[in-house]
């Protein structure tokens, strides 16, 4: 480990203070400076607890908050607490007969003082400072994480598809994760959803050679993984049926990349195999019945059936599914032209909808939800209200020098200026163009099926739907219920995995998501991806919407759509009011609006998604006003009421 002097630590601490507009030297800046030492003692110790230094830095920044816009004093005074800490560190060095204060002295002093922001943050993360002091004292100057257990043998199961190479940094996370095992066998890779996460089924072997239970390993960006672990604690742990996939142990982080890993227990079927519903779908004799009689009752007790009446403006649950409202190029604040459009909560969508490229925009009181360090970009949202509405009205700001300005997740940005690079309308239109439509995407309607000659164009409808109210219900939901996240274990027992999106939300969202996933994975592969065959299928979905039987003249389609009907049977039981299907079509329309832009699914499936949205909008138009969706009669929270 390179020798880092007190001088270097103080310089970095002051830089952190300036980035945060604090202009004083506090314990939090000292601690962040310690965390930023590459391979340093502080960073290594916290990694051994399963936290990346960056995660801790952001947690500390969130508690400290950014400082005032104007400086209220000259120079950079030490806080009284920082003086105490530096005094303790000095004593520690003197006791040891040293003239120089080291990283270890400052770390020990911060922990020993015990009341500063860093210690409070560590306690919240269940890291006891007393234990950390002991480990700081006893650890050698060698960084703990330096010992990469490269001796861990990694084998591949017979079912592993060798054509898909596992990235080296994923293997690194697994080596760290299983460092106490003798070897591991990677059985297979589970197909992920639309996110960047990778899922593997891994069997560890003990040092004595004994095979242990297989686990599902999830690898993703450290931020997402650590958040998923927190979400699991908050929402999932106490509500799971006794026999299901559970989170094992703390997340594993590594210093070589921004990735981290989680382990879920997994119970395999009698043959020692494990399947997700994508593969199992074909072999389950009756997929529809399985959904209705296994998944729904198994998890329903503590999740979807614990629901309460919930009336919400559609945007609060569903705006986050759409592309960013705006993509902006960052401008220094003093360059804000006087004619700039100001965007703040409540967001008036019509104000930003038709902004031209290069138009100046000021955003006020938005919350940072994601920092893309490699792209010099940040993503902001309104950050208020329910878990879904907090992610509403995304705005992406590009071209920020992130080494000069600190941004942290959860930070409220009072004011930021940018120029329009893209609007949501343009992004949605681009995604449609990528589907090579055989119709005009700017028209009010699009060609329909045999009986529905024209269908509404989702691109012309979604904005007014966002402003409407939905009478639905609220419950715990999985939040990402696609076939890849449903596993089939022994005796065809259902398991849900991936709780990264689990929250309290609109109950029907899970079922709308599952319907779309079934259409993508089980129905669409048998069809051609041509627009005409998509419209042909939509004709049958329209029959399901009307509660009609699929005619016996189309036995294949009839069989393929049976699981969809099972999902509808569950959805029907979850409706807030009997046969008021409007809330389901809202969920379906918005989820399909997101899915038609997914590049991870086939062209045909994306085309189908666009049409599923169109059909859902058609159904919503047919419904009476009090049928789940309501037309607004008075100007509500967002106040952007468009005349019809």
């Amino acid at each position: 480990m390179a020798k880092v002097t007190l001088g270097d630590i103080l310089i970095n601490a002051r830089q952190e203070s300036i980035r945060m507009r604090h202009y004083y030297l506090g314990v939090e800046h000292l601690f962040i400076s310690l965390l930023e030492i590459q391979g340093g003692l502080t960073a290594s110790l916290l990694e051994s607890y399963g936290f990346t230094p960056r995660y801790i830095v952001d947690a500390i920044r969130r508690v400290a908050g950014k400082g005032n816009r104007q400086r209220l004093w000259a120079g950079m005074p030490n806080t009284p607490r920082a003086d105490i800490v530096l005094g303790i560190a000095n004593d520690l060095a003197l006791d040891d007969g040293r003239s120089e204060i080291t990283e270890r002295d400052i770390l020990t002093a911060i922990l020993d003082e015990g009341a500063g922001i860093p210690v409070r943050v560590l306690r919240r993360l269940a890291i006891e400072p007393e234990g950390l002091i002991d480990r700081a004292r006893s650890s050698s100057s060698q960084p703990i994480t330096g010992m990469t257990p490269s001796y861990l043998r990694i084998e591949f199961g017979s079912g592993f598809d060798v054509s898909t190479e596992i990235p080296e940094d994923h293997l690194f996370v697994m080596r760290r994760m299983f460092q106490t095992s003798a070897r591991i066998r990677i059985e297979r890779r589970l197909l992920g959803g639309h996110s960047s996460a990778a899922l593997y089924v891994v069997t560890p072997y003990g040092v004595e050679g004994g095979m242990q239970s297989p686990l599902v390993v999830k690898i993703d960006h450290a931020d997402s993984i650590l958040e998923e672990a927190a979400r699991y604690e908050a929402h999932v742990r106490s509500t799971l049926p006794p026999l299901t996939a559970r989170l094992e142990d703390k997340p594993t982080t590594v210093e070589t990349s921004d990735l981290a890993g989680l382990r879920y227990t997994f119970v395999v079927d009698a043959d020692g195999k494990s399947r997700d519903l994508r593969e199992a779908a074909g072999s389950l004799s009756n997929l529809g019945e399985w959904i209705q009689k296994s998944i729904y009752p198994y998890f329903g007790k503590t999740w979807w059936n614990q629901r309460y009446p919930y009336r919400f403006p559609v945007w609060t649950e569903y705006d986050w599914l759409l592309p960013p409202l705006l993509v902006l190029d960052y401008l220094p604040e003093h360059d804000a032209p006087p004619d700039a459009v100001v965007v703040r909560d409540p967001v008036k969508i019509h104000q930003v909808r038709d902004l031209d490229y290069g138009a100046p925009v000021v955003i006020e009181d938005f919350t940072v939800i994601r920092v893309y360090r490699d792209l010099n970009s940040i993503q902001l949202t309104i950050g208020k209200g329910t878990e879904a509405s907090r992610r509403a009205h995304k705005i992406l700001v590009r071209g920020i020098n992130l080494s000069e300005f600190a941004f942290f997740r959860g930070e409220i940005v009072e004011r930021m200026v940018g120029r329009v690079y893209e609007t949501r309308a343009a992004l949605l239109m681009q995604a449609l163009s990528a589907l090579i439509p055989d119709f005009d995407g700017a028209d009010d309607t699009i060609p329909g099926s045999e009986h529905l000659v024209r269908l509404p164009n989702p691109l012309r409808r979604y904005e007014s739907l966002l402003e409407e109210f939905c009478n639905g219900s609220l419950s715990k939901i999985h939040g990402d219920m696609h076939l890849g996240n449903i596993l089939v274990g022994a005796n065809n027992t259902p398991f849900l995995i991936d709780f990264a999106q689990t929250r309290d939300g609109h109950t029907l969202f899970d079922w709308a998501m599952l319907e779309l996933s079934l259409l993508n994975e089980t129905v669409m592969p048998a069809m051609s991806g041509e627009w005409d065959s998509v419209r042909f299928l939509i004709g049958y979905l329209a029959l399901i919407n009307q509660g009609q039987e699929i005619p016996g003249t189309a036995p294949e389609i009839r069989r393929a759509l049976m699981p969809i009907q099972a999902v509808r049977a569950v959805a029907e039981r979850c409706l807030a009011r009997p046969s008021a299907w409007g809330e389901y079509y809202i969920a379906l329309a918005m989820a399909a609006m997101r899915a038609y832009g997914w590049e991870t699914i086939s062209l045909g499936a994306r085309r189908l998604m666009f049409y599923v949205a169109a059909l859902a909008f058609h159904e919503l138009r047919e419904k009476k006003p009090d049928d789940g969706a309501e037309t607004r009669t008075t100007g509500g929270a967002s106040g952007s009421f468009d005349a019809p």
Binding site: G26, V27, V63, L72, T79, R81, G116, I117, R124
Partner: protein, 114 residues
């Protein structure tokens, strides 16, 4: 009542680590109902947070009644918050306050210490 004392500790910001000693005989206002201390940016507050522009001039009150402490937000612009595991909980009206519990006034964290 005997002369009781309470310390208000500043737990963040440029004055992090400062201990303000409050005594019933010297600070705040007292009557039969109990003892009240004021927090704000103006000098005349018992706890004056002049270095935090997110603190309102008269921001919050701490009450001592029937052996218990309470925190009251005085319709401050940027709010008063109690520490919570996931998200700080905004105080509206008057809420109980434990000694040692962290609360935030504007952007400054404080706590009571006996």
């Amino acid at each position: 009542m005997d002369d009781m004392t309470i310390d208000v500790a500043i737990m963040s910001g440029v004055e992090d680590g400062t201990l303000l000693e409050m005594a019933l005989s010297a600070n705040g206002s007292a009557n039969d109902q109990g003892w009240t201390l004021s927090i704000g940016r103006r000098e005349e507050n018992d706890v004056c947070l002049r270095n935090d522009t997110y603190v309102s001039r008269y921001h919050a009150l701490i009450h001592f009644r029937d052996g218990k402490w309470y925190l009251e937000d005085c319709n401050s612009k940027n709010g008063t918050f109690l520490e919570d595991q996931f998200e700080d909980a905004r105080v509206s009206g008057t809420v109980p306050l434990e000694s040692g519990q962290l609360f935030r006034v504007g952007r400054t964290w404080l706590r009571l210490q006996s």
